[in-house]
């Protein structure tokens, strides 16, 4: 949910509650004031009757008026204080129930006590209240609608620098030279945020560059001592006086050094890819490249008894750096061959914009979120340097391709999407 949508909802909810409460209060206050007004009129009527009776010693004649009804009833004794009540009575003409305000008081004329009832219709008052409430509700609704749209527009405009910064940050990728550009804003908070983000991204970029340089330099520096160790071990294994146990130790050391060398080369390759050393592109026929690679791996696949099937669009071409694409295809195929159990299947599909290499699975589905990370090996991973898939992803990203992994029908599927459209 967007911030201003949430703000608008809260704002709208609070406004509606406040308006409803104030509307109710307004309604009851208005009703009280208007009834009080009618009560005052009834008091005047009482006063007029009492004045008339005092002056002429008789009750005034009842004149029928639509909105007012007066009645006298002789009673045995005075009923006490006057009483104001509201009462529903039938309209004499329309025969509909109608609300009246009623005043009952007692008056003694010529030693006869009378109960006087004066009623005034509240229909006019109700009409007025209804009109006022309708106008008030309409005004509230109008205010709410206008406030909603104004808030929406104003908030959208106010928060625009934030969304611009967010979009710039979403484009930001460590390792790429393009730094996020933040538009200048005169809102202080956003200006501080942009400045902080600029500093943070610059720091991250610098740290990343130092780290990359360190990895690259360390890899370069390691090459010479590794080569020396290898050559020394090579000399050592020529010694015919080595015992069996010594030979095993030397062989172990030799293999470890060999693995370290490969790891080093892998890291150097990654550094080269990241540094953008593979920029020149050419049009490459994908199926031709696959066929060349399959021939290179032919003896290896045959020795494992693997069945390789292909479904390739021979016209499918891509624009990529030839060396990088060679590394990509090589690693994908090498990976498939390595992890396919003996006598398993490897299927290759080449379409315009897609290269898919799938192989029989010796294990369950792999965790895609970790799969393409450096040194992230699955539990069943055989001895390897743990950089193969990281190199694939890096090479794909640099080439503008996308890599995906899918586990389906007991097969690992590695997809290289060369045309994201």
């Amino acid at each position: 949910m967007k911030l201003f949508t949430r703000y608008n909802r809260i704002n709208l909810f609070a406004t509606v509650i406040i308006f409803l409460l104030s509307g109710l209060a307004f309604y009851f206050l208005l009703k009280y004031v208007l009834i009080d007004q009618v009560d005052e009129d009834l008091k005047i009527e009482q006063h007029e009757i009492q004045t008339y009776a005092g002056k002429y010693h008789q009750l005034p004649e009842i004149i029928p008026v639509r909105d007012q009804r007066t009645g006298y009833m002789p009673v045995g004794k005075d009923g006490g204080e006057r009483q104001f009540t509201s009462i529903w009575l039938k309209d004499t003409i329309e025969k509909q129930p109608e609300l009246f305000r009623q005043l009952i008081f007692y008056i003694t004329v010529n030693n006869q006590c009378y109960r006087v009832t004066v009623r005034k219709s509240l229909e006019g008052t109700d009409d007025m209240i209804r009109s006022i409430v309708t106008i008030t509700l309409a005004t509230i609704l109008l205010i709410l609608v206008v406030s909603f749209f104004i808030n929406r527009l104003v908030l959208k405009k106010l928060w625009q620098p934030f969304y611009d910064s967010l979009a710039a940050m979403q484009q930001f990728e460590l390792g790429k030279n393009k730094r996020p550009q933040f538009a200048s804003t005169n809102i202080e908070e956003f200006s501080i945020m942009n400045e902080t983000l600029s500093q943070a991204t610059a720091k991250a970029h610098e740290d990343y560059r130092y780290l990359k340089e360190f990895t690259e330099n360390a890899s370069h520096e390691l090459q010479t001592p590794l080569a020396i160790i290898r050559s020394k071990l090579d000399v050592l294994i020529q010694d015919e006086n080595l015992s069996e146990s010594q030979s095993r130790v030397v062989q172990g050391a030799y293999e470890a050094i060999q693995k370290l060398s490969r790891l080093n080369q892998g890291l150097l390759l990654l550094a080269k890819i990241e540094n953008g050393q593979y920029t020149e592109t050419a049009t490459i026929n994908v199926s031709e490249k696959i066929n060349v690679k399959l021939e290179q791996f032919g003896e290896l696949t045959a020795s494992k008894g693997l069945r390789v099937t292909t479904a390739m669009d021979e016209k499918a071409v891509i624009e990529a750096n030839p060396e990088l694409f060679d590394i990509l295809v090589n690693n994908l195929l090498s990976n498939a061959i390595k992890y396919t159990p003996e006598s398993g299947n490897i299927n290759i599909i080449v379409e315009e914009g897609l290269l898919e290499i799938s192989n029989s699975a010796a294990s369950a589905a792999l965790d895609e979120s970790r799969l393409f990370r450096r040194f992230a090996k699955s539990g069943s991973a055989k001895e390897g340097i743990g950089l193969g898939l990281a190199i694939i992803r890096q090479a794909a990203e640099v080439s503008g391709f996308e890599t995906r992994y899918v586990f389906e029908e007991e097969q690992h599927h590695f997809l290289l999407i060369t045309d994201k459209n």
């Binding site: 090579d234 294994i237 020529q238 080595l242 069996e244 030979s247 095993r248 030397v250 062989q251 030799y254 293999e255 060999q258 490969r262 080369q265 791996f297 003896e299 290896l300 020795s303 494992k304 090589n330 090498s334 061959i337 390595k338 055989k382 001895e383 390897g384 340097i385 193969g388």
Partner: protein, 83 residues
């Protein structure tokens, strides 16, 4: 050609023979041989089984061509092409 006979070798067997002749009378580790044949794809094989197969086949073809058994196993280390 071996003893005037044409040897029918696979690419890997040929690579192995070249590597052996270039390092004759030297102990060559299995790792070095695998690396020479597969290069960057050394990990693809997963183990040295493919190497044993190819060396066995190469040895057999050399013997069939009338050559002495040049390829000697060096226990725990690798092989030696003795001439």
């Amino acid at each position: 050609m071996a003893n005037d006979k044409l040897l029918d070798l696979t690419r890997m067997e040929y690579d192995l023979l070249l590597y052996f002749t270039g390092n004759k009378n030297r102990v060559i580790s299995k790792g070095a041989m695998a690396e020479h044949i597969l290069g960057d794809n050394m990990d693809t094989a997963g183990n040295y089984d493919f190497l044993y197969t190819h060396i066995k086949n190469l040895r057999k073809k050399l013997l069939q061509a009338g050559c002495p058994d040049y390829i000697k196993s060096v226990y725990g280390l690798g092989y030696k092409f003795t001439v």
